[in-house]
């Protein structure tokens, strides 16, 4: 242990010495990110490949902690005047980033100025749209994207006499399955992670109902929340009812509850498609996934799902030459073969249409159908105003506020309607405050 540490220290020292020596000839590009485990290796390999592919620029990737941590680190660094060039920010930080004019450099503008060929239409609209202005100008570069899917335990299905090859499609079917699973002795038939992402944000897009006015905030910061209508109320009400008999069992606000699926406790679990790697590594049972369930009586459902994940923001106030390096790196990332490979290795969604088509043509989805499920959801129908994405200020805290109210409905202290009314009201107050500071 100690000797390993010493070796590590020496190596780091040597690396610093080397990079200091080489820095004079190259322009360094700082890239702060939040990728852990296997995805951290992916980031380092990308930086390494880029550095080997050309001589003018050097990408330095640094892990800066969780999404919230690295965003705060980026903001603090910007305030202190030494922001990184590229900062990975989670999707809910989008409004905060774009609100800070001068703090960021829109990607499309940067690509143009740097003279890189850039075609916004090459990117999958369901993904790029989330990070673009209303006019379609791309603000940040999508990096790791995923969507919500329904994971299910095939062994539990068999135990309850359900056909694992025919997963439920609608909510009534899902609830029926859950009840049968309960009867077969499964302690947690149905649950989900990321409560607000799944039960509010995705639910809205999937049923083509708005979550807020102004195309869910994409058209402006003066959006007003309105997710207290019948579709949302029924969803929360149904789950609150099922919670009483533990047919549905709440698993927390973030993804810490995902372990309840991999341990075999929960049989049907709605969460990110990027959960795939984790299940594959840890689940000791046969599993499958399917698109999210929908309410069949809602007109137009299912519409299309929206993404989650993170994108790369270019920070403002850097030198033109440095922007050239960043632009070149983004072109490098958009390369079809590289994107296709990244998608197949990491399980995150491909960002370009060409990479998706190539993966399809390679027959990859025949062997790995579970990786195509989120793409089928995203491309199910052309996105509408309600399903392009959302862009609401103060979204990190907003999600907590919504989650608090949903929790109040699930534990029976409030009715679903009252909880969602309060969530909307409190959320709107936060939006007005954000609008004021980001005029």
């Amino acid at each position: 242990m100690t000797s390993r540490r010493i070796v590590l220290a020496l190596m780091t020292g040597a690396a610093i010495g080397l990079s200091a020596g080489a820095a004079s000839a190259q322009t360094e590009i700082q890239w702060w990110h939040s990728m852990t485990g296997a995805n951290n290796d992916v980031v380092n390999k990308l930086a390494d490949d880029f550095n080997k592919a050309q001589k003018d620029y050097k990408i330095v990737a640094s892990f800066k902690g969780s999404y919230a941590d690295s965003m705060n680190a980026g903001i603090a660094a910007f305030r202190a005047g030494n922001a990184p060039h590229v900062l990975q920010v989670f999707e809910v930080g989008t409004a905060t980033m774009m609100g800070a004019k001068g703090a960021i450099k829109p990607v499309q503008e940067m690509m143009k100025e740097a003279g890189e060929t850039f075609d916004p239409n090459a990117y999958l609209p369901a993904i790029a749209g989330y990070y673009s202005t209303v006019k379609g100008e791309m603000l940040s570069f999508p990096f790791n994207s995923s969507s919500t899917v329904m994971w299910y335990n095939r062994d539990s299905f068999k135990k309850a006499g359900l056909d694992p090859d025919k997963p439920p499609k609608t909510w009534p079917e899902t609830i029926d399955h859950a009840k049968k699973l309960k009867a077969a002795g499964i302690s947690c038939p149905l649950s989900n992670a990321w409560v607000t992402w799944v039960l509010i944000e995705q639910l809205s897009a999937w049923h083509n109902v708005p979550l807020a006015t102004k195309a869910n905030g994409l058209d402006g910061f003066d959006a007003v929340l309105n997710f207290n209508g019948p579709v949302h109320v029924r969803m929360i009400e149904t789950l609150a009812q099922l919670q009483k008999d533990k047919i549905y069992d709440y698993a927390g606000r973030t993804n810490t509850g995902e372990g309840r699926f991999t341990s075999g406790e929960c049989a049907i679990f709605l969460t990110s498609s990027a959960f795939y790697g984790n299940i594959k590594a840890n689940a000791k049972f046969d599993f499958g996934n399917a698109p999210m369930p929908y309410w069949p009586d809602v007109a137009g459902a299912p519409q299309n799902s929206i993404i989650g994940g993170a994108s790369l923001w270019v920070m403002g106030g850097k030198k033109a030459d440095e922007y050239k390096g960043v632009a070149r790196f983004f072109t490098f990332l958009s390369d079809t073969d590289r994107q296709a490979n990244l998608h197949q290795v990491s399980g995150y969604l491909p960002i370009t249409k060409a990479a998706y088509e190539k993966t399809k043509a390679d027959g990859f989805y025949k062997a790995n159908p579970m990786l195509e499920t989120p793409l089928i959801e995203l491309n199910n129908k052309p996105p509408t105003e309600n399903s392009r994405g959302l862009r609401l200020g103060d979204m990190v805290r907003m999600r907590d506020v919504w989650a608090e109210e949903i929790e109040a409905a699930l534990n029976g202290t409030k009715t679903a309607k009252a909880a969602l009314d309060t969530a909307v009201e409190r959320g709107n107050q936060m939006l007005r405050q954000f609008e004021r500071t980001n005029r």
Partner: protein
């Protein structure tokens, strides 16, 4: 009689200068920054700053959730302080007796203090996590519907226990030292006069221990107000539905997660005022009853 003093007029000031400097840099500077920030409204990046006088405070006081956090804090802090002081005193009195292996007990009892609040939170999380926790599984087997993710009272109990547990060692250490400094002869004299153990404790030991108890009361109040947020952050994130959101956790979530620096600064100024007042009150009234 010879008067002892310094030669130069400035020499004493030079000697206390480092202390003053440290206090200025590490306390007065950040505190004044907080006061200044509480008068501003700004975006996360600080690109637009607006001076708004007391608007942040007005927003805060018109927010019913702020009062909710205040109530939660009062419940949380009194329970944690009472539990950790009570248990620590009990343990210290026990360990102070002539027993075999007293030294080992003492060492073990001090250990938890070396655990960081966030780590303590995670340890308790492992035990009580509804589906995987060892204790949680036992509770379920006993028929308790254990799910602190939805049950506010269970969540509160859990963070109170974890926070109190963490502080017991510290209190224990001081109580033990206090007990050991009480002259044996006084206690023995009382015993010879026929006072039983209970009477000896309440009439002799406890009054002589009061300086320690008073010091610990102040320290514990500061602890529950400021240092417990690591535990809350690791275990409940202030949930479910704000059941465990204390004032300090709200400062953290609004400022760090929400990027609302003005509102967060206003809250920390209020928090600072509360703790200063509490400490002042304690010194003024409780200290009168303390025998040094």
């Amino acid at each position: 009689m010879q008067k002892v003093g310094f030669k130069g007029r400035f020499f004493p000031y030079v000697l206390i200068a480092p202390q003053i400097l440290i206090t200025l840099v590490f306390f007065y500077w950040p505190a004044s920054q907080a006061v200044w920030q509480s008068f501003l409204i700004q975006d996360a990046f600080g690109t637009r700053v607006e001076f708004v006088w007391f608007e942040n405070y007005e927003t805060l006081f018109s927010d019913p959730l702020y009062f909710n956090a205040l109530v939660v804090t009062v419940v949380f802090s009194t329970t944690v302080a009472a539990l950790s002081l009570g248990f620590a005193l009990l343990l210290a009195v026990m360990a102070d007796r002539q027993i075999r292996g007293a030294r080992a007990y003492k060492t073990f009892l001090i250990w938890p203090y070396a655990v960081a609040p966030a780590v303590a939170g995670v340890l308790w999380l492992f035990m009580f996590q509804p589906s995987l926790g060892i204790v949680a599984q036992q509770l379920k087997r006993m028929g308790v519907d254990w799910n602190y993710l939805l049950d506010g009272r269970q969540a509160m109990t859990l963070v109170i226990l974890a926070s109190a547990w963490k502080q017991i060692s510290y209190n224990f250490l001081f109580f033990l030292a206090g007990l050991q400094s009480i002259p044996r002869s006084v206690i023995e004299a009382a015993a010879i006069d026929g006072a039983g153990p209970g009477r000896r404790f309440w009439t002799i030991v406890f009054p002589l221990l009061s300086p320690t108890a008073f010091f610990l009361l102040v320290v514990n109040i500061v602890y529950v107000f400021f240092d417990t947020f690591g535990i809350i952050d690791a275990v409940t994130l202030g949930g479910p539905a704000k059941a465990t959101e204390t004032l300090v956790y709200k400062v953290y979530s609004d400022g760090r997660l929400g990027g609302d620096l003005g509102g967060s600064a206003a809250q920390s100024v209020i928090l600072m005022a509360i703790v200063i007042t509490l400490t002042a009150v304690q010194f003024k009234y409780v200290e009168r009853k303390v025998h040094y």
